[in-house]
Amino acid sequence: MFRYLVRRFLQMIMVFFATTFIVYALMYWTGGDPIQALAGEKPVNDVLRAQLTKEYGLDQPFLVRYWNYITDLLHGDLGNTLVGRPIKDVLADAWPITIQLAVIAIVVTILFGVTAGVIAGIRRGSIFDNTTLVLTLIVIGIPSVVLAPLAQYLFTIQWKIFPTTAGGDASLWDLLLPGIVLGSLSVATAMRLTRASVSENLRADFVRTARSKGMPGRRVIGIHVLRNSLIPIVTFLGVELGSLMAGAIVTEGVFNIPGVGYQLSKALTTEDTPLIIGIVSVLVVIFLVANLIVDLLYAVLDPRIRYE
C-alpha cells in the first residue's frame, strides 16, 4: 500500500508538471506580444517596453519563465488580470458559488442517479428499467449548450418556477435549477454505472450465500450489494469533476452565476489571457488532486484491491 501511495504520488507530480507545461507553452511560447496586450491599444515606447520586459521577466529563457510560473502557482500567486485585479481575489470570490453549484449537482446525481440505478439494477428488464435506460441515453446525448438554455427557457420564462438568472448574491433556490442542469449529465452516467454494477453484484456468490442464510432482501441489497456497487460510482464521481467544471463554464455563463466557470467564459470574451491561464491551471490542479483522492479512496473502499 505504501509503495503504491508513493508511486501514485510521483505519478501525479509528473502529470502536474507535464500538464502545466503544456498549458503554459501553448499560451505563452509564441502567444503574441504580452506587453502590447497589457498596454491595450496605446503604443508602447522603447524605454517602457524594456522596463516592463525586465519587470515581468520576459527577457528570461522560456524554461526559466515556466519555472517562475510554477513556483508562483504553487505559492498561490496567480498574477493579475489584464485590468490589474489579483487573479487570486477573483477566484476567492468565485469559488464559494461554484462549490455550492457543484454540491447541488453531486447531490442530484447521487439522489436520482444512484437511486434509479439501484432500482433498475434490481428489476432488470422491467418497464422502469427500460424507460430509464432510454431516458438516460437521451440526457447523455444532449450537450449542455442545448440543455442549459432549454431549461432556462422552459422553467424560468415559459413556466416561471425558478428565477431566470442568479446574479451576485445567489441563494440556494437561485442555484437549484443550474445545479440540476449541471448534475443531469452525471445523473445519466451514474445511473447506468450503478445499474450495471448492481445487477452484476446480484449474481455474485456472496449475495447467494447471504440469501441462503435467510437474510432479509432489504439487508442483502442495502449492505452486501450496494456497498460493493458503490466503488465504481466513487471513481466516476471523481473523474466526473473534470466534466463538471467544463459544464460549469456553460451553465454558469447561461444562468449568469458569478462562479469560476462564469469568470472563465467572461475572460474568453474579454480576451483576458492571464485570467484564462490562471483559472485553467487551478482547475487542472484540482482535477489531478481529485483523481488522486479517488484512487486512494478506491483502495480504502475495496480491500480486495492489493497494490503489490
Binding site: 505519478q11 509528473m14 502529470v15 502536474f16 507535464a18 500538464t19 503544456i22 498549458v23 501553448l26 499560451m27 509564441t30 502567444g31 503574441g32 432510454v134 441515453l137 437521451i138 447523455i140 446525448g141 444532449i142 450537450p143 449542455s144 449548450v145 442545448v146 438554455p149 432549454l150 432556462q152 427557457y153 420564462i157 473534470g242 466534466s243 467544471m245 467544463a246 463554464i249 456553460v250 455563463g253 447561461v254 472563465l264 467564459s265 474568453l268 470574451t269 489571457t273 484564462i276 491561464i277 485553467v280 482547475l283 487542472v284 482535477f287 489531478l288 483523481n291
Partner: protein, 322 residues
C-alpha cells in the same frame, strides 16, 4: 420530421424479414442456425437488426451525412443572405422556421451548419482513432519501456480536461489570427489529440489479453512477423469495443465543437456552426424561441444519434447483456 419517420419506417420494413444473406430460406432461420456456425460479428448484427433504436439512429446519421454533403438538397435558402428587414420574421417561402435577430434564414443556417459539425466530429474521431489504435496496439503488444512511455503519455493527456485544454489551445489559435479553415483544422487537431486516450486504453488491454491466446502463439510459431500478428490476429479481436468508443467519441466531439463555438473560441461567425447560432439566439429567446430551438434540435439529434449508435452496437456485442 415526417420525412425522417417515413424513411425510418421503410428502412425498418425492408430490414426485418429473414437473414439478408439467405434468400432461399426466409421462413426457417432456425434450421440454418444449427447447421452454420456464426461469427461474433454476424451474431451481433442479428441482434442489432432487431433493435428499432439502432435503425432510428442510423437513419438520423445518414440524413445528417447527406445534409453535410449536399445542404442544398434540404433547403433552397441561403444562410448568408440576411436582411434586417426580416428581423425575427415569421416563416415565409423557403425559410420554414422564420428568421433570426439578424434576419437570417434559421433553417438554412442550421442545415449549412451540419457540414462543419460533422467535419470536426469525423476528423477528430479519425485522428483519435488512429492515435488510439497505434499507441494501444503497440503499447500492449511490445510492452516494456514503450508500454511504460505510452501509459505515462496517456496519464498526462487524461490529466487535461478536454474542454479546458481545448479552450486554451483554441484561444492561442485565435490570438494568432487564423482563418476559418485554420480554426477548423485546429479544432480537429486539438479534439483528436486530447480524445484518443480512452480508445488506446481499451485497445491496449484487449491486446494484452489477446497476446496470451493460443492462436497468437500458433501464428508466431508459424513464422508470422509482429506486424502481421498485430494486424491480422490481435486487432480484429479488439475491434468491437474500439468501434463503440469511437462512435460515441464522435458524438462528444460534435458536442465539444458546439460548446467551443458557443463560448466563442471554436468556429467564428463567417463559418456556420450550431454552437454560434445557439449562443446568439440564446440572448433573444425571450422574444423568439424558434431560432434557439432549431440549431439545438439539430445538435441534440446528431449527438444523440451517434451515442445511441455506439450504445446499441455495444449491447449487441456484449453477450452478458442479452
Amino acid at each position: 420530421m415526417s420525412d425522417f419517420e417515413s424513411v425510418a419506417a421503410t428502412e425498418l420494413h425492408t430490414a426485418t424479414p429473414g437473414p439478408a444473406g439467405d434468400p432461399n430460406a426466409p421462413g426457417q432461420p432456425h434450421t440454418l442456425e444449427v447447421s452454420k456456425p456464426r461469427s461474433a460479428g454476424a451474431d451481433a448484427w442479428r441482434e442489432l437488426r432487431r433493435r428499432p433504436l439502432f435503425w432510428v439512429a442510423l437513419v438520423i446519421t445518414a440524413v445528417v451525412a447527406l445534409m453535410a454533403a449536399w445542404p442544398s438538397l434540404f433547403t433552397s435558402g441561403d444562410p448568408t443572405a440576411c436582411s434586417l428587414s426580416n428581423r425575427m420574421g415569421p416563416p415565409s417561402g423557403t425559410a420554414i422556421f422564420g428568421y433570426d435577430v439578424q434576419g437570417c434564414d434559421v433553417f438554412a443556417k442550421s442545415v449549412y451548419g451540419t457540414k462543419n459539425s460533422l467535419l470536426v466530429g469525423l476528423g477528430a474521431a479519425l485522428v483519435a482513432g488512429l492515435l488510439g489504435m497505434l499507441f494501444g496496439v503497440t503499447g500492449g503488444y511490445f510492452g516494456r519501456w514503450w508500454d511504460v512511455l505510452v501509459s505515462r503519455v496517456i496519464d498526462i493527456v487524461l490529466g487535461l480536461p478536454l474542454l479546458l485544454a481545448a479552450i486554451v489551445f483554441m484561444k492561442r489559435v485565435s490570438n494568432a489570427g487564423g482563418g476559418p479553415n485554420v480554426r477548423l483544422i485546429a479544432l480537429i487537431a486539438v479534439l483528436g489529440l486530447l480524445g484518443w486516450t480512452t480508445a488506446a486504453r481499451v485497445i491496449r488491454s484487449s491486446v494484452i489479453t489477446a497476446k496470451q491466446q493460443d492462436y497468437v502463439h500458433a501464428a508466431r510459431m508459424l513464422g508470422a512477423g509482429s506486424g502481421r500478428i498485430m494486424w491480422r490476429h490481435i486487432l480484429p479481436n479488439a475491434l468491437a469495443p474500439f468501434i463503440v468508443i469511437i462512435t460515441m467519441a464522435l458524438g462528444s466531439f460534435i458536442a465539444a465543437e458546439a460548446t467551443l463555438s458557443f463560448l466563442g473560441v471554436g468556429l467564428q461567425p463567417p463559418s456556420q456552426s450550431w454552437g454560434i447560432d445557439i449562443s446568439h439566439a440564446r440572448l433573444y429567446m425571450r422574444e423568439n424561441f424558434i431560432p434557439l430551438a432549431v440549431p439545438s434540435t439539430f445538435l441534440a439529434l446528431t449527438v444523440l444519434a451517434f451515442i445511441i449508435l455506439g450504445d446499441t452496437i455495444r449491447e449487441a456485442f456484449d453477450p452478458k447483456l442479452r
